[in-house]
Amino acid sequence: MKTVERKIKNGKLVRISVKFNGDRISDLKITGDFFMHPEESIIEFEQIFMGKKVEGLRSKIMKELVKRKIKIVCIGFDYNDVCSMVEEAWRCGE
């Protein structure tokens, strides 16, 4: 697992632990002092990233959020931050 930690500007601290299988995400855990409503949706939020290719990740995640009609309120970070951190982990090598 590769871990990337980031204090989001005007936001919260987010830490991701991510594992890749080839160029796809095979495992992802997001922790930190952020807020997400409802809290339990963190599981589904993480699940959305599973199996996705790193290339073009942001648009895929946005499409998936819309497709699943998921109503998640993130406070202190957003999905773009997580995508950016996954990309950073990918660039650094697993």
Binding site: G11, K12, L13, R15, K29, I30, T31, G32, D33, F34, F35, M36, H37, P38, E39, I42, V73, I75, G76
Partner: protein, 246 residues
């Protein structure tokens, strides 16, 4: 009519369990409730999304009788000194507050700002969830909304025990810990830094400001809430499964 439950000391597991039991009470039509409480023994609470192993020196806490509990709210790890803070919770139907989560933080935090002002301390709300004095944090809050019920809980720091605070937090290097303490001293403050008052006076000030303009009565937990809380403390908040799920 608001129900107000004044400062009681419980262990960390019971404190979190009581908040959840009150949420169930409010969900089932019970009165909105304001509660003030303290922690005995001292404890660390971590946010819902945090990893215990990343945030807390569990071994140090265990050796020193400091409990560790996961909250059902997000936010960061907090050291709750048994003599150093007052914790509040506001539990009410969600529709009594602004739909915007940030606006509802602002509303409830303004009660804290008013309470501090009444003892001569000028503070301000800093979004997302903090209250600061000259950029130093004196209070932090966290909120969740479930089944139509809003729970916001938070702390107001009365005195600081930074050494213990940072020993509870997971910092592997002593040098880093020293730096963190020095840095924290510049980022964190407490009521005692500004006025020499007994903690009871802070409690009374917060009680007055939280209740201002509301119809309210002093109350206690119902038998059902107490039974729910005992059940939740034992079967949820004390369990490894809950506390170490991330």
């Amino acid at each position: 009519m608001w129900r107000v439950i004044t400062a009681s000391k419980n262990d960390a597991f019971m404190n979190m369990a009581v908040d959840e039991a009150i949420c169930n009470y409010v969900r089932d039509g019970g009165e909105p409730t304001i509660r003030f409480y303290m922690w005995n023994p001292s404890a660390v609470s971590i946010g819902y999304f945090q990893s215990v192993m990343d945030e807390v020196d569990v071994e140090f806490c265990n050796k020193n009788g400091i409990s560790v509990v996961r909250r059902r709210t997000g936010g960061g790890a907090v050291y709750h000194d048994s003599h150093g803070e007052i914790t509040y919770s506001v539990i009410a139907p969600q529709d009594m507050f602004p739909e915007s989560i940030l606006q509802s933080y602002k509303m409830i935090c303004s009660w804290i700002v008013d309470g501090l002002e009444s003892i001569g301390i000028n503070s301000s709300f800093k979004p997302i969830n903090d209250i600061i004095i000259n950029e130093k944090k004196i209070s932090g809050s966290a909120q969740t909304r479930k089944e139509g019920v809003l729970l916001q809980h938070g702390t107001v720091l009365y005195s600081l025990n930074l050494d213990t605070m940072f020993r509870c937090l997971k910092v592997s290097d002593e040098k880093i810990r020293d730096k963190m303490i020095n840095s924290a001293r510049q980022r964190v403050t407490c009521v005692n830094d500004y006025c020499d008052i007994p903690i009871q006076k802070l409690h009374n000030s917060l009680l007055n400001s939280f209740c201002y303009g509301k119809e309210w009565r002093f109350g206690e937990l119902t038998e059902k809430e107490l039974a729910d809380a005992n059940f939740l403390a034992k079967n949820k908040y004390k369990t490894h499964q809950w506390n170490f799920w991330r």
